[in-house]
């Protein structure tokens, strides 16, 4: 399905009672099967945007809508969280099954689907482990399997690999791309890492710092499937340069502001 974010604004009241505008008139569209990265300096409200798309946070004005054909019982979104957010009392397998339980999927089909996504994310042999027995990378595989398992119209990912070490992150990025090539679920991928955004996405939506608005949408013209060697290609470097040019001053200002 297509996601349409239309003139979306979000303001908070902070502790001193002041009105803080987190998002200001955001408009963007995510096409079916598209991989869109949302990128911005820290504190630009990109996680807020994702939470509003997920229905976990109300918008102040504007709206988020989904258009297109929805299978019966299909959830609009499923989220992969930065801090994994796995249930510590559930094994890997039971964590993956969580969303299917809430969808009232019969046990036999549930088992089959859980097994399919456990295999797809490389979790075979770890089904019975509790999250605390797994490494960070394995935990996020559980997080990804849990989200893909409900076969959402759009997959939302909130800095999914930023809690991982650099090597694991690189591996997980390639694995995610591989999975995406197979499932073709539309992805909205929030990150603050320019290289990561360009390497993964079809388009990069660049947000300004608070109040967050869309600075530009940068299309990435790299052919798929993406491979490491493309990291040195002129198209890649140009896109990275262009985005860095957009947010450099913003990031500097955010740094001096002294708060996230």
């Amino acid at each position: 399905m297509r996601v349409i974010v239309d003139r979306l604004s979000k303001s908070y009241r902070d502790r001193s009672g002041q009105n803080l505008v987190a998002l200001n008139g955001i408009g963007l569209t995510v096409e079916p099967e598209e991989f869109v990265a949302i990128l911005g300096p820290s504190g630009c409200g990109k996680s807020t945007l994702l939470n509003i798309i997920a229905g976990l946070l109300p918008a102040s004005s504007g709206e988020v809508a989904f258009e297109g054909e929805r299978r019966p019982g299909q959830p609009l979104t499923a989220t992969v969280f930065q801090e994994f957010a796995l249930f510590p009392w559930r094994t890997a397998e039971a964590n993956v099954a969580f969303g299917l339980e809430e969808l009232d999927i019969p046990a036999a089909e549930r088992r089959a689907r859980v097994h399919r996504f456990i295999a797809m994310t490389g979790l075979e042999g770890f089904e019975g482990k509790y999250p605390h027995q797994l490494s960070g990378g394995m935990r996020q595989r559980v997080g990804i399997a849990r989200a893909l398992c409900v076969e959402p119209a759009v997959l939302l990912m909130d800095e999914p690999f930023s809690a991982l070490d650099a090597q694991t992150r690189t591996i997980m990025m390639d694995e995610l791309l591989g999975i995406w090539e197979r499932t073709r679920t539309g992805i909205v991928y929030v990150t603050h890492n320019i290289q990561e955004a360009v390497y993964m996405a079809d388009r990069v939506v660049v947000l300004s710092r608070r109040p967050g608005r869309v600075l530009d949408v940068v299309p990435v013209e790299l052919k798929r499937p993406r491979v490491d060697s493309q990291l040195g290609e002129p198209d890649f470097l140009q896109a990275v340069d262009r985005i860095w040019g957009l947010i450099k001053s913003q990031a500097k200002a955010a740094l001096l502001e002294g708060r996230p």
Partner: protein, 266 residues
């Protein structure tokens, strides 16, 4: 200039090491009993004040053979189980309710804050007035004693549930009851078990108190009656049984906790 030195780095944390000292643990317990036996055998203390452990053991075996031990024990255990079960169930339910529903919190929290400080023993007279001198008042006072730590601990456990996990559950379609059953309750389990352990101690205390006021059976009754009759050995049997009840309940709660919370300490 002095010649260059070579200094091996010593382990400076040695004094921080902790050992199990298994033998010492057993020796402490055995040592106490042996010392106690010696003190009484030597005649330093009159048996009326402190009977020898061997005499207490003999009396215990005797009471077990002839039956009264089981009568008293069963009466006490029955009261404990009913009171503990009722108090724990009510405590967990109320704790979850006031922890999750803000309206229940608004009603329940001031009520609990106002009634919790009353020592439950003080309520015993009132309960006897209301419910009679029989089993009901005894079971109720134990239930009340267990209810408060359970409700307060469960409430704290529910409030401590990780908001991120609750959001994750909602993100995957969980509604109110799913969130309570699948996120809130498991999050609160460690605190619930802490409450159970606190409650077990309170229950034993209140059991003995209740059995000392108007009872014809039970370990508390045995202790009181033996004291009145200067039957110190029987009294000591009662104390040994109470100690065993306490040790057994905390041991079984620990076992149960490990079974119920398999995702911890593994």
């Amino acid at each position: 200039m002095s010649p260059p030195q070579r200094i091996a780095v010593p382990d400076r944390t040695r004094f921080l090491e902790r050992h199990e000292h298994r033998l010492l643990r057993v020796a402490a317990l055995v040592g106490l009993v042996v010392l106690w036996e010696i003190v009484t055998r030597a005649g330093w203390v009159r048996p009326l004040f402190l009977p020898a452990p061997s005499a207490v053991l003999e009396e215990l075996v005797d009471m077990a053979r002839s039956g009264p031990l089981w009568t008293h024990l069963w009466a006490s255990v029955r009261r404990l189980l009913w009171g503990f079960g009722a108090g724990a169930t009510a405590g967990v339910s109320v704790g979850v309710a006031i922890g999750f529903f803000s309206r229940a919190e608004a009603v329940g929290q001031p009520l609990i804050a106002a009634t919790f400080p009353i020592p439950k023993i003080a309520l015993l007279s009132l309960l006897i007035l209301w419910l009679g001198i029989g089993e009901a008042s005894k079971v109720t006072v134990i239930a009340l004693g267990v209810f408060f730590p359970m409700a307060i601990n469960t409430y704290a456990g529910v409030r401590q549930a990780d908001p991120l996990l609750i959001r994750a559950a909602v993100a995957f379609g969980a509604k109110r009851w799913s969130v309570i059953r699948k996120v809130i309750l498991p999050s609160a389990l460690p605190m619930i078990f802490a409450g159970l352990k606190l409650g077990a101690g309170t229950a034993l205390l209140l059991l003995v108190a209740a059995e000392m006021i108007g009872a014809e059976s039970g370990i508390g009754f045995l202790v009181l009656q033996s004291g009145n009759l200067n039957e110190t050995t029987r009294l000591m049997v009662g104390l040994v049984v109470l100690s065993a009840l306490g040790v057994l309940s905390s041991w079984s709660l620990n076992r149960l906790e490990r079974l119920a919370i398999p995702w911890q300490n593994t």
